[in-house]
């Protein structure tokens, strides 16, 4: 509320901003001040709200509460064009290029240098592009189409684009994820020179060495809330990690002790070029294994490959000793694998169908007589599982889209449990689910493991991972960077492995 009595107001500030998407509160009361001549770091776990914050500053989202201030003046960014006019340039996490346009046009889209009669002056555009690349110390042909550029080169084009704005505020959302060491150094040199020229820079990264090498102040967010802002000099990596994850690990996650049996799922040397490589692990019956890591580490891609949704280039997947054919979900299902996908609305459910239809979707053939599906048989089959999972629905004939997120997830689980799988893979099983239902899902997973099912759980929620898993596999940039037993796994050890840090973290 109270403005700072600083001599010059910051070029950009976010004041008490809140933003919700449906029931999910992505930002709550977040304030952030980007000062001229300063590089500011933003740290937080997956889902802490960093990307939402970036998109709010960039004018993509409008805050539900609070506002943006430009030079101390409350301002409304109705769209990205407004933010650009205010001098805000953004490098997004995912490159946002136009594959069909040339590199030069990608950089100067909407701002192409004009010649006579407001025609685009292509040679001026080419020259300006070459100048930008020279500043970055790289050479990319300005006339080639962006299609076919490697991810690193796409990122360099994005950086050149941000540079071309002569921005007063530069936002970089994990710009270094795809860059090599030299390119990162060049990017940092550019960021520093922008800062020295009085620009405000916001830098988001999961790599703490970069954050500490580059930034002047560090702001930590957690669960959509603002936690702290401190000068880098007064912080250590440990302190930042602690405030990133520092929430209570409640006793919500009752994993029962089980008898661990035979290896059911065995994955060896699984590789998909450029996505994940040499992934080895096994899951035994009665065991819950968590696959932890940051968004984009390749976890969902691994489980999709195991289930056969995507193909892979090398490696084997065995279920109960039998090798599965790559790229065949039907074979995986026949072998007893079930996959509860990450995005239940898109991949897990047919939203326009009834609860019972959804719940029996995997057993259409088993339930049909003479090739026809009888409504009564469907309802009976659906009833057994929806009762067991305590799905709260008015009628089983209601559309599944009318259920709450938690109950939708139970329907997806019911659908797959009806196939009586040996291996249950759940991808983010409790995302966007209220606390009560969350506990139920956890109880259920634990019960299933107790009955001898092998459970592989992909989760970005550390408390869930720590509470549920017998073993934790941590992925970092497409590889398994650590395998931790239940006793070894703590918020810190998992977080270090997920960010690719060395085990002993106390930085000087």
């Amino acid at each position: 509320m109270g403005t700072q009595p600083s001599p010059a107001p910051p070029p950009l500030a976010l004041v008490e901003a809140a933003k919700s998407f449906g029931m999910v509160k992505a930002l709550q009361g977040v304030s952030l001040e980007l000062r001229a001549g300063e590089i500011h770091a933003l740290c937080g776990e997956n889902g802490a709200g960093k990307s939402t914050l970036v998109k709010t500053i960039a004018g993509v989202h409008q805050p539900d509460e609070g506002h943006i201030e430009v030079d101390g003046q409350p301002t409304v960014f109705a769209g990205p064009a407004d933010a650009q006019r205010a001098g805000v340039a953004v490098i997004y996490q995912e490159p946002t290029l136009f594959p069909d346009l040339s590199v030069a046009e990608n950089i100067f889209i909407r701002r192409q240098p004009l010649g006579r009669g407001r025609r685009i002056d292509r040679s001026a555009m080419r020259a300006a592009t070459n100048r930008l690349f020279a500043r970055l110390g790289v050479h990319i042909d300005p006339d080639r189409p962006a299609r076919g550029l490697s991810i690193a080169d796409q990122q360099l084009v994005e950086i050149a684009k941000a540079l071309s704005f002569d921005a007063r505020v530069l936002i970089m959302d994990e710009p270094t994820a795809a860059l090599s060491g030299i390119e990162v150094e060049r990017l940092f040199a550019v960021a520093r020179s922008l800062r020295d020229n009085g620009a405000a820079v916001l830098f988001i990264s999961h790599r703490f060495d970069e954050v500490f090498a580059l930034c002047d102040r560090i702001t930590v967010m957690r669960d959509g809330r603002y936690i702290s802002t401190e000068p880098t000099a007064e912080l250590t990596v440990d302190a930042v990690v602690r405030s990133m994850v520092g929430r209570d690990v409640t006793a919500l996650f009752p994993k029962q002790e089980t008898d661990v049996g035979e290896v059911v799922l065995d994955v060896a040397g699984l590789t998909r070029t450029g996505v994940f490589s040499d992934v080895n692990f096994s899951v035994r019956s009665g065991e819950i294994v968590a696959l932890a890591g940051l968004v984009g580490a390749g976890r969902s891609e691994v489980v999709r490959a195991i289930f056969g949704v995507d193909g892979y280039d090398a490696g084997t997947v065995r279920v109960g000793g039998t090798k599965l054919t790559a790229g065949r979900p039907a074979a995986a299902m026949a072998a007893g694998i079930a996959l509860v996908p990450e995005d239940r609305r898109q991949q897990g459910l047919v939203m326009e169908m009834s609860v019972e239809r959804n719940a029996t979707l995997t057993r259409r053939w088993a339930l049909s007589r003479f090739g026809l599906l009888w409504r009564r048989a469907e309802e009976r089959a659906a009833r057994t599982w929806t009762d067991r999972l305590q799905v709260k629905a008015g009628h089983l004939s209601d559309l599944v889209s009318t259920l709450s997120g938690g109950n939708q997830q139970k329907v997806v689980l019911a659908k797959w449990l009806a196939t009586e799988p040996h291996v249950l893979i759940v991808d983010e099983p409790t995302r966007g689910i209220d606390v009560g239902t969350k506990a139920e899902v956890h109880r259920l997973l634990s019960e299933l493991a107790g009955q001898g099912m092998a459970v592989l759980m992909v989760s970005s929620e550390l408390p869930e991972v720590l509470g549920m898993a017998d073993r934790v596999l941590v992925m970092h940039e497409g590889r398994i960077s650590a395998e931790l037993s239940r006793s070894q796994a703590t918020e810190e050890t998992v977080m270090y492995a997920a960010t690719g840090q060395e085990q002993e973290g106390s930085a000087a």
């Binding site: 064009a81 953004v90 136009f98 004009l114 025609r119 110390g137 790289v138 050479h139 690193a152 450029g274």
Partner: protein
Amino acid sequence: MSTPVTETPLEEHGGGDPRSSRRLRQARELGILLALVLLVVITTLVNPGFLSSQSIDDLLLGATLLTILAVGQTMVIVTRCVDLSVGSILGLSAFAVGTLFVSFPSLPIVLVALAGVLVGAACGLVNGTLVATARVPALVVTLGTLYVFRGIDHWWASGTQINAADMPEEFLGIGRTSLLGIPLPAVIAVAVVLGAGWYLGSYRSGRELYAIGSEPQAARLSGIPVDRRVLGAFIANGALAGLAGVLYAARFGTLDATVGTGLELEVVAAAVVGGVAIFGGSGTVYGAALGAVLLTTIGSALPILQVNAFWQQAVVGLLILVAIGMDRLLAVRTARRLRGGESSGA
């Protein structure tokens, strides 16, 4: 061989042949041109009368309407939309022109022609507004307006027909006038192609149409007024369909409510054969125009080659499949080159 091969620059990024995809696209247009020349040469060898000046005039006149429509359609398709209602717009505009001549015989021809273009632009405005505000795919919207515009046409015409006798001689003469030996409608079509090509290639808003079709999400993030641009493309396309309607009226003179029925698919076919990617982002109006000329030429050449009319449709179909196959080939090649770098992110 005397010049030494220069070393590739130290930091050449990207790998592969940087201009291969552009070259491939130009090769595509050259390919169509080649097919066209080949077709004409073979047909002329079989029947030397094919290249008589009367026949060329017929060919050019025939290709005129399709070319103009294909140019407009291209502007819409590059934004990842499509306009299936162009046949109905053409019909509506043609009938409007005829009706104006019947009701106000003294109106200047230019004014009537302008009215025809405006009718088309108004239809385009309806299409574009629906696409932009209803957030329904253009395919569905324009499939709807295809029938709506046709329905209006039927209601308006209510079974009547306008004949050449109802229209002034000078207007009907447009089709027979020639400029430097080229029929006036063909000159208009060439002007439309060049104008649209110039606009799409050299103006910011033209390039933004490509950007929108190439990656709609990124277009919004870049602050491109996506809805306004798409609306503009639909209006331009409607206006061109209206212009085609005017030329149709001038050329054929006989107008009823069924004029232009079924034309839309031929137009889309011409654009696709001409290398306009159906998912937007690439393709030129020059290619689309060549596609239109090629399809028209096939239409008049095959009977001379004594090919059954059935095969004519099959040939067009085959051309479309070849065109799409080439798009696919390009996409697969690029994807293969991209592998190793691409991660599908969360």
